[in-house]
Symmetry: C2
Subunit: 439 residues, 2 copies
Amino acid sequence: MPPFGREARKGVIMNRPKGKALVAQSGGPTAVINASACGVIQAALAHGDAFTGVYGALNGILGVLQEQLMDLEREDPAQIDRLKRTPSAALGSCRHKLRSLDKDRRDYERILEVFRAHDIRYFFYIGGNDSMDTAAKLGRLAREVDYEMVAIGVPKTIDNDLAYTDHCPGYGSVAKFNAAAVMEAGLDTEALSTHDTCTVHEVMGRNAGWIAAATGLARRDEDDAPHIILLPEVPFVIDTFVWQVKDCLARRQRCFVVCGEGVKTPEGQYLGQAGGDFAKDAFGHSQLGGAGEAVRALIESRVGVKARTNRAGTAQRNAMHFASRTDVEEAYRVGRSAVEAALAGVNGMMVTLERHPGGAYRCGTGLVELETVANGEKKLPPEFIGPDGVSVTDAFRDYAGPLILGEADLEIAPDGLPVYARLGKHLVARRTTGSYNVR
Amino acid sequence: MPPFGREARKGVIMNRPKGKALVAQSGGPTAVINASACGVIQAALAHGDAFTGVYGALNGILGVLQEQLMDLEREDPAQIDRLKRTPSAALGSCRHKLRSLDKDRRDYERILEVFRAHDIRYFFYIGGNDSMDTAAKLGRLAREVDYEMVAIGVPKTIDNDLAYTDHCPGYGSVAKFNAAAVMEAGLDTEALSTHDTCTVHEVMGRNAGWIAAATGLARRDEDDAPHIILLPEVPFVIDTFVWQVKDCLARRQRCFVVCGEGVKTPEGQYLGQAGGDFAKDAFGHSQLGGAGEAVRALIESRVGVKARTNRAGTAQRNAMHFASRTDVEEAYRVGRSAVEAALAGVNGMMVTLERHPGGAYRCGTGLVELETVANGEKKLPPEFIGPDGVSVTDAFRDYAGPLILGEADLEIAPDGLPVYARLGKHLVARRTTGSYNVR
């Protein structure tokens, strides 16, 4: 862990308050968000002098609003350690979005009420843009009302769309799994090309094509899958796509398409929801089932060959059974760094991953203000997208390649399946009266 | 390898002809059909005295019909060995179904013409029911026209629906991957239950529920996913299902459903194609995208909670990155056994897997006549299905549990992704004149 240097000085360095630490997980689970939680929890427990307790919020910010807090000191340390190798969000997560602080302070005030009731002075929030926004606003309100607290953000998102960090924990693992799945399913399409000539493999990534692009790492050879990568950053033009599929079929007698779930028409409509040619398959039915199904139907109706759809769905973001060791280690490290930053007097910042310049991949941690990161969104830059709009460049390979390196530790039970942590989730007694109505 | 005893005596024991061996792969790829091919090829190459050459058919029986044969002796032995760890069908496969021999002998006569032209006297056919049927008929015609040849079947199907064998190579691996994926995605549903309350995970298995049932192995605890397993063997009754989902939600505030792609209505229609309530989601759209999408839409419209769909598609049957070591080893062994059987004078039979009775799992090989196996289809027996119709019994766990044990060897390249075999596919010169029109 490098010391918090230049970046930390930008943050609000303060005298450290004494009180409890709270960790919460937010948004869509990943293979490694628990590794980050483990980093926070283990670092906090190791500093019993600095924290009067270590709590977890059940189901993210919802658990704070509903005062469902867990005492993590009562958990079995072995289960806490196992979080490093456990996918999904073991504390529970949610997609509850707080309203704008300017418009409605109620939720924020409720959070501070709960914090105050339990003397929570450190809030470690693991999440994406929205979570950093929440943490920033909470910090602002706390300063207004003179409640001394420290808020530190820990980045997490498979989408890899957080700005101000080289990449996001969670991305390397979803990238590795999808690249392997595309490599494997690509061999299937090759073997059965006389029958199932095309395959459309839909991957997550609503607004940015980072995950779709990562499947390009599977393409070691020109003829390997994926042959066409549809990115949300590149508007989907039917005639261009149909031409590209036909060209691929002429060259290889098969075509493997990766489709980001957030691919849009030139008019800005998601493929899975668009009307017109997308909405009708060869039989005139409306299409549901997402972008991949729309593209499949289009291939069958406009190219006239059989196509299949793969969509691992939520399984892809939790594929700990083939996760990136690099990703797990970095996720753990940003969790620990968040606590170390707090102990160093940092407040109102998110830990970032900073790639060292130069040849071999090395990555340290840094800090960025929560307010800053909250408003950024990082799309795939043009230099990562091939000139044909459906492939990735060597620059992208240089960027993403190191993030999928190494295989995460996996504990296999005698039954042949992974062993994942189960927390006791020991709820602490409520200290506020009445119930809070979450909207 | 146990000797070919009682079963072999049922086969046609003959003087062994001298000539080339041909291996072909058929139907949907699996994680281990290449391991079987490797077993055949390595055993045949090791008996250079018995075979005048070892050929492979490009794209299965299509390659025979079109006289696209590969000389496997020209392949790099390291690539051949790597087939043990390579998913999909490296020789190429197809879904070409030959017509009935009684109605149309043309395809069969063409196959014998190609065999005769290349002096192919041993045909090792790796596939399912249809392939065994083809091999049986070919053998029958060969006897009629006095062409001395040996046909041996090697079982393969992820569906596990071949009769007369304890289980099929390919099943253990698709079972292991799907069980792990359900375990992992199940944790996702648990973590996000306040938002994405239900998940429908569709798995392959058109006519039999073996794969869907195998995900039940992930349910170590009553509250673990999957909570509801929809099997093709159990007619899908809407009201019963809706009640089961609601009951699960009342108990666990979440519901994880596994849905076999071949689940049917009481009227015998596939869910993905059925009309009525299945065909309309909450917005009145028709449903495409398979059984899983139909069930998802039904949950949203009838239960009123958000549901998601996962469908790994072809990725599931090629998931070598988390395949069963037991499956790989058995697949390799049935391949070798096929050659050993041929060398022992067996003809017209398929190698089977025979589980030894008693406690610890042990499995040997046996033989069954091709004609017999061709007409059998093995569905999930009632004693493997729980009384609620949507779970599996301990008897099923005892049956399927050992098949997913151990992790297959995986070779990882410096780029962090698996290394899979690539064959040179050296085509041999054609010896028949004119082109054959495959229908």
